[in-house]
Subunit: 527 residues, 2 copies
């Protein structure tokens, strides 16, 4: 593990901070044994990475620019920059396959350093994979390497500055390598908040949020990440792009929205200008119970269309609610049945009080039953923990994965049924499909599915078949292949159904213009 | 005037409905004479358009597809589809120059008709200018014709359907040829509202709103047009693009934002799916007086950053306020001095009451003085009238034009001073430069300037020099060359300063991909 800067690194075969991982509680073990059986999988061996295939002397110019210590070829460093954290990624790593390991890890410290790496990559035809937090769940770090002289991971770990804060405009310029908590800590020292909390918050980075159009658990209140971005700086093989002359403009197409979601295929985002808010004085979360998923969803729609969204708003379907209720320590002992909604409020005491009163009146009128703050606190307490639980379940032979989509309100029920049915049919009897609405808009919402089933002898093809069936169902429903997890390599075959042949052609044209030799994240995003 | 569908057509040399034009009131004449002198210009002659240069038989295939009656070559029809309504456009027309007249006007009735026109245009290398309301003020209808077999105006006047309303998702699908009031009338019959009111509302069209990223007078409450669009259908020379799988997604770059603002250069928008709202029960407008432009702007910023925006919010600077106050019938007899802010509230009685109370408390606390509803009503009454006044002023030899930009709050004052100074210096003593903040965001605002000066013997070069100086000042301030009037041909030389050489390159790449022979609005938008 030579030479990495001081940050907690994730285990190549598991999520998160090794120190934060927990065994399954005994109560859960019993339930899981009942549902899926337990098949203790072998302890994880340290997996060998393939030897670096890049000629060492090819890297000499980069050593000159970045410094010896920022051009790394050792197995430990390369292992930690291999793929992301989808269940397929973990299954491959658990099965001893780290064949996607980069040949080298390079660590630029500035925009100019990134530009130098790209120029070098073009000159020597080396594939470049921008790397932020490594939390990708769509294969966005598994670039194609055939035809290239090698593949390097462009690790943004050194670019962690808060460049500036404009307190009058309430914007801040952040470097891409800042992890969520690091960005918030720097901003908090300035009295402001970004407010972007995806489940990957603790490890994912600002650059990744932008490159993947991330959405967070408080996006009802603070907005999706793409809605928070007012400016970008991007290093491309053909030079620099700087965008963001105003909050909004009519100066042609909004090119910011072309680089947001570009997944490292058009350029490397080297800084991001975001909206910030005052640090909230109050954070309050609570639970509501609804008779049915449909009733809760209708209430969410009513809130959104009335312009009365709280900061956090999510709703579990009956199955997900029941699973949560099976762990009463996490839902505050709420009475069972129905569907659990979490509402959260952040801001000044007066603003929170006013919003909460209005939302409470509306939800009560629509038939919601308040179940108190304990349920909300339990959710807030565990909000980043699910990926650790996935590791524990994989350890005992249970196959677990999530996927998400979004649609307009009038298509919600058909999408829900379509995806759920596809997953149940693909994975067979005894499969558990849970769902929650993770994000709402005036015109629609996202659906976030969690799937658990007894792992087959070969769990990877088992899951890939189920995921393909789910994707087909999503496309059939006219919904989006991904609401907040990006395209990567995993969703690419389905993207063309969403944006059409011409949409795909436009992406190829932009790619060819900015990255004519195709060194940037080859095989990712662009059909 | 053969064969046009039944709608009020604008005079080639003037704005709007000829029946709605009014002479200058005598009180204003006196004031204007004092400020600029009066030099009665000659009565407007009907200007001859150049003969159609397109070989008649070239149009035969289109006659087969669209019908004889929708392929028009007569002078009257061509005259009405010549250029837009900027002051330079009007000055050219008044000077007898309609050299940009299309060779023919073709009127497709459907997406497939549009596709057929584009296929024909590609085959015969004919330039195509999509035409909606003809209200463009940036030269977006003055396409280049050199090297083409001719230039046709693709008039969307027959595509005026409300295709569908989704009352659950609160979206509606509109055809591009619907003028603002036509769209609202069709939606009102369904109990819903679009809420997009640019000054050109009475004549501009849905397709134009989308193609130019329009912003309206109620955008504080309802959102800019690009924020209202959730889906698009576009006909391009290479085929159809359909976008809009969900309110938001992470399926790569948001390609909707590439066609919004594409100004007919990438394709012809053939339908638009927009957010709609319930018809408001209440509409209330009122005025506030502020000690200074800066104090009022700070109050706007506070409202925006507190998430407390009314539906309408605008603020005139001292000079614009004084001019309004010189016409006391239009501002409700408010006491003079300071800066006039208009606030407007639309919605349910309860929502309006709550928002209004909160805004009133905040504005009062910040030092605003309410001046009553009469000032608000006067503004609402005259909200679409300014372009008629421009005609009357041009008639008496006063040069009048508007321009607009936007920036972040911390740059507002520098931008304001920079543009105002540039205009005053370019146009000389006695020039009146008025400004208002027309739109606000959490992070910034737009500045909308109105300029009046004594017209020179050659007012066109006089204005073009002043406009260039203003554009240079905008670029120097790092602001946007246009907040809501698009690029057209007039802003094109400055666009590259805003999006950079690579941004321009991306636009060219997309253009080349979708319109390989370059027949769509040649010379417009793309640097």
């Amino acid at each position: 593990m030579t030479g990495l800067t001081e940050q907690v690194e994730m285990h190549p075969q598991r999520w998160g901070d090794p120190a934060a991982a927990t065994d399954l509680p005994d109560s859960a073990r019993g339930l899981i044994e009942l549902a899926f059986g337990l098949s203790e999988t072998p302890a994880l061996d340290e997996v060998a990475v393939p030897p670096s295939a890049i000629p060492d002397e090819l890297l000499d110019p980069l050593r000159g620019v970045l410094g010896e210590e920022h051009v790394l070829l050792d197995d430990g460093t390369r292992r930690l920059r291999t793929r992301g954290k989808s269940t397929p990624d973990l299954l491959r790593a658990r099965a001893g396959d780290l064949s996607d390991a980069p040949d080298a890890v390079v660590r630029p410290g500035s925009h100019d350093d990134v530009a130098a790496v790209l120029a070098w990559a073009v000159e020597h035809h080396v594939a470049v994979v921008p790397f932020g937090g490594g939390t990708c769940v769509t294969g966005g770090l598994a670039a194609r390497r055939d035809g290239f002289a090698g593949l390097v991971s462009l690790d943004l770990v050194r670019m962690k500055r808060l460049v500036s804060v404009d307190h009058e405009s309430m914007t801040a310029v952040l470097e891409p390598g800042l992890r969520g908590p690091e960005a918030e800590a720097l901003l908090a020292a300035e009295g402001v908040l970004l407010g972007h909390y995806p489940q990957s918050f603790e490890f994912a980075t600002i650059g990744g949020f932008a490159a993947t159009r991330s959405s967070g658990q408080s996006s009802a209140g603070y907005g999706r990440f793409d809605a928070l971005v007012v400016g970008l700086r991007v290093a491309t093989p053909r030079g620099e792009v700087r965008l963001g002359s105003a909050p909004a403009n009519a100066a042609g197409p909004d090119l910011r929205q072309l680089f947001l979601g570009s997944e490292g295929a058009f350029g490397v985002i080297t800084d991001v200008t975001v909206r910030v808010r005052p640090l909230p004085d109050v954070q309050a979360y609570e639970g509501w119970r609804w008779e049915s998923f449909a009733a809760g969803a209708d209430a969410m729609r009513t809130l959104a269309q009335a312009g009365m969204l709280p900061t956090v708003l999510r709703l579990s379907d009956e199955a997900e609610t029941a699973i949560n209720l099976a762990r009463p320590d996490e839902i505050g002992g709420a009475s069972s049945g129905g569907c659990l909604m979490i509402t959260g409020y952040e801001g000044t005491p007066a603003a929170v009080e006013a919003k909460r009163a209005a939302v409470t009146e509306l939800l009560t009128g629509l038939g919601g039953a308040p179940v108190g703050e304990a349920a909300g606190e339990a959710w807030a307490h565990g909000r980043f923990h699910a990926p650790y639980l996935r590791d524990s379940l994989l350890d005992v032979g249970v196959l677990v994965e999530t996927l998400e989509t979004a649609t307009f309100w009038s298509h919600r029920e058909a999408l829900y049924t379509g995806v759920k049915t596809a997953l149940e049919q693909a994975l067979g009897e005894g499969t558990l499909v849970l769902c929650h609405i993770s994000h709402v808009y005036e015109t629609g919402c996202s659906l976030y599915f969690t799937v658990a089933t007894k792992g087959a002898a070969e769990p990877l093809p088992q899951w890939l078949a189920a995921k393909a069936a789910a994707n087909d169902a999503i496309v059939a429903a006219g919904a989006t292949i991904t609401h907040h997890h990006a395209v990567g390599t995993d969703h690419k075959p389905w993207l063309v159904h969403e944006i059409g042949e011409l949409g795909a052609s436009v992406l190829r044209a932009v790619k060819a213009d900015l990255d004519p030799t195709g060194v940037l994240n080859p095989g990712v995003l662009v059909p």
